[in-house]
């Protein structure tokens, strides 16, 4: 039997390191906010010939749009597809820009997609998103505490589940911070949708494991809570992995072969499901053990810290 609970220090350490790296990334790179949040205009240009991103940037600069953000959406070979984020521009101006680019680059340019929003709308969307995640987390905490009300300290159960959840969401956000810096990937309303979907989905696993812990605790299979939790995790391992695998099959297929418009959205879901499985197996149950046995002190004493 694999001792998940016994290895909890390693899991916590791994998570702590990743979280720290995530914080640094967010602090340094921030998030690349899309039109939904900062307002402005996002235009998708389709080119009938392949175009280099640097060429496009040069032309945009010479046309007076030097401050534009350009993202390569990846077109089939022999064509070009770019997402350009500008300040406020009308759709008539977008068409003119397409013509100008076409003339300068010697190919046919069409406006595939045009999206214009004002910053006030964006701020509201960002606020709503934050509130949405907070409300969802609190609501889930309360429900779990109620569902496990016959256990000792049900609120701890809810809190551990939610901590794991917040950890999942945070890592996904951090990954997109890196992607924003590396490839100009923007955060939009779809990203928030994906995050909320991750919130809904990843709590699933944790609850199933908790349910088994509850059952085993009632059956008093062991006097040591750590043992009980570990047995529960191992017993549900088959199910945890299978469920994650089955969902991942479909998501990976969609990520690799699916359309450009939901490419990064599927990535959010992919990351969320994968990390969610890890935290539900290796983090949530273990957190509960540490809390129940009040081992916080012992946890930190073993961490190599310069004294």
């Amino acid at each position: 039997m694999i001792d998940f609970v016994g290895k909890k220090r390693w899991f916590f350490l791994a998570s702590a390191i990743v979280t720290l790296v995530g914080i640094v990334c967010l602090a340094v790179f921030g998030l690349k906010a899309g039109t939904d949040f900062v307002g402005g205009t996002a235009i998708t240009f389709h080119f009938s010939e392949p175009v280099e991103q640097s060429q496009l940037r040069e032309e945009m600069t010479s046309l007076g749009y030097g401050g534009a953000t350009i993202q390569n959406l990846g077109a089939p070979s022999g064509e070009g597809l770019f997402l350009v984020h500008l300040g406020e521009v009308s759709s008539a101006q977008a068409d003119e820009l397409a013509k100008a680019l076409g003339g300068a680059l010697g190919c046919e340019v069409t406006v595939e997609d045009f999206y214009s929003a004002l910053p006030t709308v964006g701020m509201k969307t960002a606020q709503d998103a934050g509130i949405a995640v907070a409300i969802a987390a609190v609501a889930m905490l309360i429900y779990i505490a109620w569902a496990f009300r016959r256990m000792p300290n049900p609120f701890r159960w809810g809190t551990c589940a939610v901590i794991a959840l917040v950890h999942d969401v945070f890592i996904v956000v951090a990954v997109f911070s890196i992607l924003g810096w590396l490839a100009g990937v923007e955060i939009d309303a779809l990203f928030i949708t994906g995050l909320l979907a991750v919130v809904g989905y990843s709590i699933n696993n944790t609850v199933v494991i908790f349910d088994r812990i509850r059952e085993n605790t009632s059956k008093h299979i062991s006097s040591d809570f750590a043992q009980t939790v570990n047995s529960s995790i191992v017993e549900t391992l088959g199910r945890s992995l299978n469920t994650a695998l089955t969902t991942l099959f479909v998501l990976v297929a969609m990520f690799l072969f699916g359309g450009a418009t939901i490419h990064y959205f599927v990535l959010v879901l992919l990351l969320g499901v994968a990390i969610g499985i890890y935290t539900s197996i290796c983090i949530s149950g273990e957190l509960l053990v540490v809390w129940e046995k009040r081992e916080w002190g012992r946890l930190f004493s073993r961490v190599p810290v310069a004294r």
Partner: protein
Amino acid sequence: MPPSRDVFGRQGLTLGLDLKGGSYLVYQANLTGYAPADRKGVMDGMKAVIEKRVNALGITEPIVQVQNQGEEWAIAIQLPGISDVERAKELIGRVGILEFRAQNETGQWIPASGTVNGQDLTLTSRYLKGNTYVSVDQLGAPILIFEWDDTGRQLSEQITGRLIGKPLGIFLDGESLRGADGNPIAPIVKSVISDTGQIEGLSLKDAQDLSTTLNYGRLEVPLGHWEGTDGSAVFVPEAPLYEKTVGATLGADSIQKSLLAGEIGVVVLLLFMILYYRLPGVIACLSLGVYGTLMLAIFKLFAITLTLPGVAAFILSLGMAVDANVLIFERMKEELRAGRTAGAAVEAGFSRAWPAIRDSNITTFIACIVLFWFGGAMGAFMVRGFAITLFIGVALSMFTAIIVTRTFLRLIMVSRLASKPAAYGVSQ
């Protein structure tokens, strides 16, 4: 194998804007001066006018909705398959008051007025009968023909009587009406205009749009957006708060690829289920087939809009449907290993797995509800589609796992194959 191929056929499915291609516009309304109780009535009236205007553009299935958050009222317009957004925006954004003006001594244009029943009234489109139409003259140039009602006729006779030989200015929403050549339209009055009149010099599109505007009525309040914060907010008319256009080709390409990818993933999933769980795996596949068919039936029946994120939500909920089955089967395996008979293992599997299924799915429902609320924020109609799809998907997955799978399993209990643990992937 479940009929997954043509069940994704597009007949009968309501597709979202991101799949059909089209434009999505949001305009705020300037309702200052209106009591809060009256505002909804005004907005509903405006919605009717805009619907008619948009329909006149020849767009199939446009959607016009009134949105409200606290003090703010807005109108959201979905225009699937539209090619000329600018024209639509012009048509939607204008208030639509046609005014006739005369020049005074200093050459300024002031509203032309007359007296009817002792009242001083200015001559505007308010007095037009709603049967304006566009025709062509002998040279093929478009002319806009209108007809006055009783009051309008009296005013028109008085005013044009005064202005014979002088120009009559035509103004739309305070600005001079411009012809196809770009010059303001202000014809010299040749004879008194009583019942019917005509306006020449407009381009065909402008004539048609003006006709639409005059026939379907003016907007009671101006549409545009607010700029600046609450205290010093300034209303900018005719410019939408929010505009998003999706090219139809991008949408079509995306949906093809994503559906194909989804189908590949699902096939792999089903193969895995059969390999790992054997007999129950096959039943799970049947159960999932029922699930998929029911989902699509519900979508078609209730005309729920399917968006691309909605497709992703469908996939996720498929994963949850699988999850519920997996929970039950893993439980069954445990019971079998513990030595129970196949029949008892099935029943025990279902009853023991239920609390886990119930609790985990309810937490997902909570996320759906929050998502639905978040989608209520302007411009996030795709989020709403996702939330609804996920909610229906999870609810349906619970149903198919508990009822459909159990029924299938009980049905096959009679065969001897079903009573061998090996059929469930358990070695003894």
